[in-house]
Amino acid sequence: MMDKLFAGVRIRCLEKADYDKTGQKWSVFLAPNTLLKAVARLNDDGWFLEDVCAVDSVEGFLVLYHFDHWQKSGRLSLKVLVPHDDPRVPSISGMYQGALWHERETHDFHGIVFEGHPNLIPLLLPAEADFHPLVKDAKSRLPLKDLMVLGEVVSCEESIQALFPEEAEEAAAEQGGEEAEAEAES
């Protein structure tokens, strides 16, 4: 289904997420330059934007776009990884005006620049604020593999696959270890 929807759009990684576990049905890694193309497909197919947010990780800011559909229930998240030193993503507010505020908010919190946004001024923070509250310091940043798991991978580029090395086993091992730890603590 997703293959057809995104036919012709260069996708870095397409995975079928575990809905019961993550609340998302599809998760799509994109490069910033193909984002607009993908969003245009979603727009044509009648998806609506739930929110835009970002997660700060070692590899960079992971900008997330959550989409949902009125008739075909199922959440789709577009993920765009941008580097810390030059966080630029094209703005999707031309197609989804709802993104106007979500992008301004993300700009406030993470300092991500949405290129082509008509009015990228502070939304929730005061106008003179010169900090981005949700940007973590280098010490507390974690790599993506510690934050999320890849579901059933449909297609994936090397570069994304490399971010999640043997994640299945590792996750299982870690989880078991943590549970033991938690029990020991309590």
Binding site: K21, F48, L49, E50, D51, V55
Partner: protein
Amino acid sequence: MTRYPNMEQVTGDFYTQNFEKGAREGSLILNMGPQHPSTHGVLRIILELDGEYILRCDPVLGYLHRMHEKMGESKTYRGFIPNMGRVDYGCPLPWNWAFVGAVEKLAGIEVPERAEYIRVITTEMNRITSHLLWWGAYILDLGAFTPIMYAFDEREWLLDLLQTPTGSRLTYSSFRVGGVGHDIDDKFIEGLKAFIPYFRSRLPMYKDLVTDNIILRKRVEDIGPMPLDMCRRYGATGPVIRGSGLAYDIRRAEPYGIYDRFDFEIPTQDTCCCMGRYKVRLAEFEQSLRILEQAVDQIPDGPIIMDKAPKPSWKPPKGEVYFAVEGARGKTSVYLVSDGTKSPYRVKLRAPGFSNLSLFAEAAQGTLLADAVAILGSLDLIIPEIDR
């Protein structure tokens, strides 16, 4: 200018100056809020007026911004639940549910049957109180002072009842990961059973006093059209979209908890105007009452929280999760990224009012100032939820 030596200072702040850049010659720039009777708290809207017609407007947010998302990163999972009661004071229980549900989904926790029923009962009661508050406040926006008092009449009784399972009257934070915090008793069930027919008997009065009133109808009918395509572009949900004729309700579209067990309808109105949204909310009273009736009859005995409920130092597995519930204002959801430690790595709160309000600038264009107030009210704003 020389007559008023201090006049130069009055140039407006950053937002006004930014807004003024695109202003037409001879139009009036007006700051509505942040202290204005009908912006429901501290919303500020900069308007460009031609006479009383709105040429352009721009809401300015952030006056009640508390950065809940940052707080979430430093608190434990248990410690963040009280914050959920404060995000939206009008209808906090869906927020409770959204956060707790996200954590439960992440950790794969099963909630006891009775707790599920208590969650449904309290949430639906909360939906009614929230809609009652909205109803009164909306009519107040339109200039009638009395209905809010009648609405508070019912609301107070519901709040008295809600006190049993939540312990408080406004900022409920009674849900726990794996269940709920307080049990309900027979007295509560009796009170609720008495309340349902009473509230039904009051609804015709609402219709007589307000809904049928010609002045009100003229104020809200065909005002603020929000066609479905516009709702989609802005991501509007809840009564806003149901007032535009689409039966989209998370309780049906993406069932959570035990909502698939109840028989209820999703009221819709296809007029797309303020009256549509108004009627949808009034119809939701009846649907909530129906769910309450069924839930009260079916509620089983049993524990209200899972065995070995998570302690404050509990650590969920790592991973990301997105969980959405149907709040009084629409899709209320929490996106959570856990790194496997005691506190979340990232919490994103998706407020329905945020998306609904972003629609306002487009909907209000070209209307009268009084209509803008009517449109603003029909979106059912709770500013702390929008600013988070």
